[in-house]
Amino acid sequence: MASAGSGDEKAATVTLISSDNEHFEVPEAVATLSQTIRHMIEDGCTDGGVPLPNVTGRILAKVLEYCNKHAAASDKDELEKFDKAFVDIDDQATLFDLVMAANYLDIRGMLDLTCQTIADMIKGKSVEEIRETFNIKNDFTPEEEAEIRRENQWAFDD
């Protein structure tokens, strides 16, 4: 049904190249959810594809899942449901990778979502519980820790 016309019937696309050399052809309307990519398109340096050396193919695929959904959908409830499922990940490492990707690609909504998810994993927990959740080693000396505890109780409030 495509008719010949002066303008392009096919929407403009841009090619994103992950660190492990996977190519993703993506409509501009979706890719521009990333401010970083948007600026590159505006500056006209996207010929031959945009290399993203900080993002693996696996993570980039997930990021594009997010962008596709958010570029298209308009229903708030639908987006909320999607977001909730999007961050329901067992693997913490993937979650951290998504935070870094959202930061690098400057995708505000995804950065909010992923950071909030991690914050929710910290909320209400004791110090020990937080360390356990993220497998963090306590690298304070006993004196340093005592000093911080003292400060927490006596020096200031929030």
């Binding site: 067992d90 950065l111 950071c115 910290i122 109780q153 006596w154």
Partner: protein
């Protein structure tokens, strides 16, 4: 770089693995999304990376003590809001030094609160303003010694947008002028109680600060000329002139000639304002939302009512406390302003069930209804409210003694959003509490003087009202330790608790209260059975305790106060009148509690003069308020009294007879 399917198991935790892959900034962004201060404080202890991230991103800080202030200001370079109102014994020198030592760290500071920091003067303020180029908001309220020099120091903050000088008694037209000229971008200003300010000062203010949106001139001796000046402010939205007895209808007439921007007006307690003046003021105001005219009007005429009706679309808050009303008046108000969200009829005579019915029938948006001392209303009024005002959040019924649990049942059933209810002196019983327990959103519950409330009633509330923050059981003397057990179990978020004269309570009850970690204000007047054991539990367990009232707790002695001295580190306000403390115990208490600013110690019969001298000297730099027996005025050394006053302490001499009572 690849993390294909890598599950996190026993990583070493050194940077670069697990959450360590996040940069300090990204980790900080995660921590930014933690709302609760406790969570942020917990994160400071998790690891060095967490601590650095938290410190780098911390935006708000409330400092409790003077000593760590310099280090804290250096540690938190991203601070935007600094609250020093609780910083015990803060003075000019230490503020100036701390600010100087912070290096460039205060570059982002926008808001500083120094309310009640009476030790701070122009030197400290000058240093602060110089170090904070982005300063937008300063609160100096209740720094009663602050005057024109302090105002001048603050006026150097050219970008200042908000300034509070409430109760800065020494500020005159000169100081105000400095502020007006130095801070042309001022948007919000309060000079409440600064009674040295006159029409001249206000006139200059209005000329120099055209951006003013909110102005509070309550209790000033200014007159109609000030209103003429204020009417030239084109952006003014909020004007409060409570208790301005030199203002009358003529002034309101002048004000009404100004621009149409006014959204909120408060003329409460303005003796010479009548409904005519108000009618002129509200004539044609297209944006007026809030009208406070409490305790000023004696009557309301038709002219006012017809003008009120022109505000139909916008008026949401109307306070007419103290006015004599009638059924037809209430009906007219309901018809005239059916978008009302808040109505105040406290101490209004003539309020009847019919009047309330006709009012609420047309005002289904009402969320706050104040019927304090409207003592002729009955359950019928409550029925009408329940039927019409489903969004009800706050209901004040103090002294409405004709109502009972049946009326409360209706309210509780139909108004699920109820957050605050005041039933002081209403004589309600446990059945009412059984119904109120349905309101799971309840935050504030006042049951003072309801002596038929028992542990059973408290158990009902505790079973479902987990969000309760304030509970007033003043003179509910049937309450026992069991009631407190239920409370400690079900209402863990309680911050304010009044158990005065509930004299069946013993140490065991206080033991239960020891689990309330969020408790900040506790009143235990005349609990004659409690001893140092109970006080210990409170002191150790209630880690957030700031205010404690132990007046007439006759069995509390040095041991009890010792427990406080050793544990209640953040205590700021304490009443120990009539307690069995000796000079030694008092001294220990006053020298240990480094945040204590306000102490009432009338009739400490076991303390000698030397005891008072020593104790007060120990606390000299920190005390801001002291209430003590007049008889000591001639006996304490003049040198001590001078020192206290020099450090900003206000002494209230009290001449009450020594009377022992146990209820």
């Amino acid at each position: 770089m690849s993390r294909e399917g890598q599950k996190l198991d026993s990583a070493a935790g050194a940077g670069g693995v697990g959450i360590g892959v996040l940069s300090l900034d990204l980790l900080g962004q995660v921590l930014d999304r933690l709302r609760e201060p406790r969570d942020r404080k917990a994160c400071r202890l998790v690891s060095r990376a967490f601590e650095r991230a938290e410190a780098a991103h911390r935006r708000a800080l409330r400092v409790l003590r003077r000593e760590p202030l310099p280090r804290l200001l250096r540690s938190f370079p991203a601070l935007e809001r600094l609250d020093l109102s609780a910083c015990a014994s803060l003075d000019d020198g230490s503020l100036a030094a701390a600010v100087a030592g912070a290096g460039g760290g205060l570059a982002g500071l926008r808001r500083v609160c120094l309310a009640r920091a009476s030790g701070v003067g122009w030197r400290g303020l000058e240093a602060l303003v110089a170090a904070c180029p982005r300063l937008e908001a300063v609160d100096l309220s209740h720094c009663v010694g602050a005057g024109d020099r302090e105002a001048a120091a603050v006026a150097a903050a050219a970008g200042l947008r908000e300034l509070r000088l409430d109760k800065c008694l020494a500020v005159t037209d000169m100081g105000l002028a400095k502020v007006a000229v130095g801070c042309p971008r001022l948007e919000k200003l309060s000079v409440k109680w600064c009674r040295e300010i006159s029409d001249i000062g206000i006139d200059l203010l209005a000329k120099k600060c055209p951006e003013l949106r909110s102005l509070n001139i309550s209790y000033l001796k200014v007159g109609n000329e000030s209103l003429r000046s204020i009417s030239t402010l084109e952006k003014l939205e909020e004007l409060a002139m409570v208790g301005c007895s030199c203002i009358d209808d003529e002034g309101l007439e002048l004000l009404s000639k100004g621009s149409d921007s006014l959204q909120s007006v408060d003329v409460s307690r303005c003796d010479h304002v009548t409904y005519q003046g108000l009618a002129s003021l509200i004539d044609g105001r297209k944006f007026l939302q809030k009208l406070h005219a409490a305790d000023c009007l004696h009557e309301i005429g038709q002219r006012f009512l017809s003008k009120l009706a022109t505000l139909k679309e916008t008026l949401t808050v109307l306070k007419l406390d103290g006015l004599g009303v009638s059924d037809s008046l209430l009906q007219a108000i309901g018809e005239g302003c059916n978008h009302l969200v808040e109505i105040g009829l406290s101490k209004c005579s003539g309020v009847t069930d019919e009047g309330i019915s006709s009012l609420v029938a047309r005002c289904s948006d009402l969320r706050t209804i104040n019927l304090t001392c409207c003592n002729f209303i009955t359950n019928n009024a409550l029925h009408s409210i329940a039927d019409n005002c489903k969004m009800l959040e706050c209901l004040r019924l103090e002294s409405c003694s004709l109502i009972n649990d049946k009326g409360i049942k209706q309210i509780a059933t139909c108004c699920p959003n109820l957050k605050e209810i005041d039933l002081t002196d209403c004589g309600v019983n446990d059945a009412a509490l059984e119904y109120l327990a349905k309101c799971s959103e309840l935050r504030i519950l006042k049951l003072g003087l309801c002596s038929s409330i028992s542990d059973k009633g408290i158990a009902f509330i505790s079973s479902n009202c987990g969000k309760l923050v304030e509970l007033d059981l003043y003179r509910c003397n049937s309450i026992t330790d069991d009631g407190l057990a239920a409370l400690a179990n079900g209402c863990k978020k309680i911050k304010l608790l009044n158990l005065c004269y509930c004299n069946k309570i013993t140490d065991s009850g206080l033991g239960h209260l020891g689990s309330l970690e969020e408790l900040t204000n506790l009143e235990l007047r005349c609990l004659v059975r409690i001893t140092c054991i109970g006080i210990s539990s409170i002191a150790i367990g209630c880690k957030s305790l700031i205010e404690l009232d132990l007046k007439r707790c006759y069995s509390v002695d040095d041991a009890g106060l010792g427990a406080l001295a050793r544990n209640a580190f953040n205590l700021r306000q304490l009443t120990i009148s009539y307690c069995q403390v000796t000079g030694l115990g008092l001294c220990h208490l006053l020298s240990s509690l480094r945040c204590l600013q306000d102490i009432k110690m009338v009739h400490l019969s076991w303390v000698s003069i030397e005891g008072f001298e020593m104790a007060l000297r120990a606390a000299c730099g920190r005390l801001k308020k002291l209430k003590i027996l007049t008889g000591l005025k001639t006996v304490l050394s003049p040198e001590l009294l001078q020192m206290l006053q020099a450090c900003g302490c206000r002494i209230r001499w009290v001449n009450k007879p020594l009377v022992y009572k146990d209820c």
